[in-house]
Structure formats: C-alpha cells, structure tokens
C-alpha cells in the first residue's frame, strides 16, 4: 500500500522537472476545452493523452491549460496550440490518438497536423 510519505522521495526525482516548469511562460501552450460540451464529448481522455505524451517526450517547457467554452460546441473536444511566434492552431473533434499525433508532429517536429484543424474542416 502506498503512503503519502513516498511523495517526499518523488520530490528528489522530479526536482529538475519542477524547476523547468517554473519558467513555462516562455514556452508553448496547449489549451484544452473543458466546458460542458468538451467534457461530454471526451476532453478528459484527450487531456490525459496530452499529459502522458508531453511527459514521455520530456517537453518540460510546454504548459497545458484548460479553457471554457470556445463557442463551437459541435466541434469539441477542441485543443488550441500556441507556439511562440506562430499563429494559434485550433484542432477540432480531438481524440486521445489524435492528441498523441499532434504532440509528436506539431510540438516536437514543428509541423501542424492540418487534417485535424478547423481550417481543414471548412
């Protein structure tokens, strides 16, 4: 059985990661829609996939945040990616698998996954 005291051990291990996150404001932001429409259509697994994949790829300066209603509820789950110096990219009808691809291709390799964007849908 785990006990809270184990967190003290984890502290040592994660010290570096925590320090890097403190400087997050200079990095990329991934914003996940968490309004009722987003949650109802599957935003939680999308968020969890993003958390896992950004950790796997050691993307310590990437900040994940929630947002409320974006106004296009039928297109939820929506994920907005803000890379400094670039235009915002809005991904729609996201799933956990699509989120993993977005983290790898857009965040890591710098190439937006255009087929998942709102532009492609129009």
């Amino acid at each position: 059985m785990k006990s809270l005291a184990e967190l003290a051990e984890l502290r040592e291990k994660t010290k570096n990661e925590i320090n890097m996150r403190a400087d997050r404001t200079s990095g990329t932001r991934i914003v996940v829609g968490m309004a009722t429409c987003g949650i109802a259509s599957g935003a939680r697994p999308v968020l969890n996939a993003i958390i896992e994949e950004t950790a796997k790829r050691k993307l310590d300066d990437v900040m994940v945040a929630q947002t409320g209603c974006i106004g296009m509820c039928r297109l939820e789950p929506i994920v907005e990616v803000f890379v400094p110096g670039q235009e915002k990219v809005t991904y729609i009808k996201m799933t956990a698998e699509k989120a993993i691809r977005v983290v790898n291709e857009h965040i890591v390799n710098g190439k937006a996954v255009t087929e998942y964007t709102i532009g492609a849908a129009e």
Partner: protein
C-alpha cells in the same frame, strides 16, 4: 455525461472560474442505505441570490459565447433520473455548495467512474488551487488533500508527471481498499 466523475469535473470548472482556491469534493456512497451523495464546495466568488434562482435553468449562463449553460441542469437531471435530489446554495464573497443525492441501486444511476482520472486532469492544470477529496463507503473512508501532498513534496507543485501518476495510482488503491463502487 457517461459518468458522475465527468459531472464533477464539469462543476469543478465552475468553481475554478469563480476563482476558488479551495475546492472540496465529497462522495458518500452507502449500499446499506442505498444512497450516493455528492457534495462540491468551493470558496469562490459565489452567486447573487438572483443568479442562484436561475442557475438550474439551461438557458442561464455566465459565458458570452453561447446562451445555454448545461453543466448544472445536466447534473441535476442525472440525480433526479436516479430518484434523487439536487440543490445549490451560494453566497456572494463566500462560495458555493452543490449537492446531489441519488439512489445507489437505481437502474438509471450513472456510474461514479474514473475519479482518479478526473483529479489527474484537475491537478495538472490548476497548480494554485487546493482540492480535498473525501470518499466514504460502508467499509471506510479515503481522503486526499492536495495541501498535505504539497507539504510532502516540499514544493508548491503537483503537476510533475511522476507525481500525477503516483497520485492516480494512490487514489485508485485507496478507493479499492474501501470498496468504492466506481462502475
């Protein structure tokens, strides 16, 4: 919503929008009494009595992008369709309490679902907010207070991946231990 844990995630978003710094979620499930109660309390900005009167109406919302607000009405519906009750109290400058009660054995009672998953999402994105989760069953109680966890970590942050993962496993272990019926 497919699970009550998603309703809880939704209502907590309201608390966060209300600038709450402490959000308490209590789930009390008793097979013996055939009841599940869910209580979500925050110390956010609260609602005026005028807004409180309207808040369960699906056409009431504080957002500007649409003119419907379904979070509260859907949770109320989930409680009532399981032979339950729903109530909200709030005071400006003090905070809000949302209460939902429902019959544990009712065929239309949504499963509680992935509470640890809901908290993993919340902790990853809300560093500066503290949460207290209390889950009570006929066999025991499980409590997780982010203030205790932050003391152990010695830092203000819970959002490091290994920490989130550890908390996820710790919660599921604790809930299994007390015989929580999540599905």
């Amino acid at each position: 919503m497919k699970e009550l844990s998603l309703h809880i995630l939704d209502i907590v978003q309201n608390s966060i929008s209300a600038k709450a710094t402490l959000i308490k979620i209590e789930i009390d499930e008793s097979r013996i009494n055939d009841i599940i109660t869910i209580r979500i309390e925050d110390n956010g900005i609260g609602m005026s009595s005028e807004l409180l009167k309207r808040v369960t109406d699906p056409f009431t919302t504080t957002r500007k992008t649409r003119n419907v607000g379904l979070g509260i009405p859907l949770f109320k519906l989930a409680a009532e369709q399981a032979n339950g009750r729903f109530s909200i109290t709030s005071a400006e400058g003090k905070g809000t309490v949302v209460n939902a009660a429902m019959q544990h054995s009712h065929i239309d009672r949504s499963p509680i679902g992935d509470m640890a998953g809901t908290f993993r999402g919340l902790f990853s994105m809300n560093e500066s907010v503290d949460f207290v989760y209390l889950h009570i069953t006929d066999n025991g109680r499980f409590e997780f207070d982010t203030r205790e966890a932050k003391k152990m970590l010695g830092e203000e942050t819970l959002s490091a991946f290994e920490v989130l993962q550890w908390i996820f496993e710790y919660m599921n272990e604790g809930l299994t231990e007390i015989g929580a019926v999540l599905y």
